[in-house]
Symmetry: C2
Subunit: 150 residues, 2 copies
Amino acid sequence: MTSTIDPHSLLRDYMAQHGLKASRQREIIADVFFTAQGHLTVDELLQRVRKVDARVSQATVYRAMRLLTDCGLAEPRNFSDGQTRYELAHGHEDHHDHLICTRCGQIVEFVDDRIEALQSKVAQSHGFSVTHHKMELYGICATCAKSDGA
Amino acid sequence: MTSTIDPHSLLRDYMAQHGLKASRQREIIADVFFTAQGHLTVDELLQRVRKVDARVSQATVYRAMRLLTDCGLAEPRNFSDGQTRYELAHGHEDHHDHLICTRCGQIVEFVDDRIEALQSKVAQSHGFSVTHHKMELYGICATCAKSDGA
DNA sequence: TTTGATGCAAAGGATTTGCATGAAT
DNA sequence: ATTCATGCAAATCCTTTGCATCAAA
């Protein structure tokens, strides 16, 4: 049942249905984003995009990321620095949270069903029904912990 | 062992130790903040402060909230709107997370030791040692759920 | 008096937007 | 030909800062 849909075609369909036009810069940005597999800021994306075409503007990246967000392919995240980072949307089934090293910035994704279950339970006990949540654990990763004591 | 320290005197001591001076506006802002018991933005605080003295500037509120944060009395929070909200710091022992109604904006604080325990466990399994975390559950509160179906 | 606090307005950083121009349909 | 997308710069929003002035100490 879980047919892996090509993000590119999903994007193409979305644009068709909304009367949007394709463009070279849009393709580059989408390509870079789909390939990058990270949690990139607009400026980080822009840097990579400009390696392909130096004339792409920042505004276009912002606009493209909004488009990718609107069609459900990208998800904006706000961690503890003022910048929005985008990650590939994995779909609701594949929700996950983040573990962030405050020393090196490394970001690890994780899911824990036991935590998710408890979250619903806690919310229920306050009369809430949860639609979504945000959980970030900040700490020191193994690598940094090692180089620390050295 | 848990002697409840008056925030005002804590603030006074902090200022003394750091060679800072008292001021009328600082007192008003601290008063408003300690009384307000909420998760207020700078502008919300400013509004309330100006009911006491209309001439207080926004910059002063920003500066005062930084001071209160520095001396451990206030805690800045960033939820899913671009504005920083300040809440009374409860101290590390009394850490808590948030339940936020996406309809009416109501914010409920909660703690769940089972979740906290699992968080450490998950982090450990990835080699991380957690220093702090952020968890927000978004959903619909009981009141909004009722007025919904009506 | 000396030093820190204030108010104002200017400056910052991140993101958005208006507009003339360029490209896709 | 239309209509949307782009690039640029100006505009926003939130927050911080420089500076002359005011008020604690």
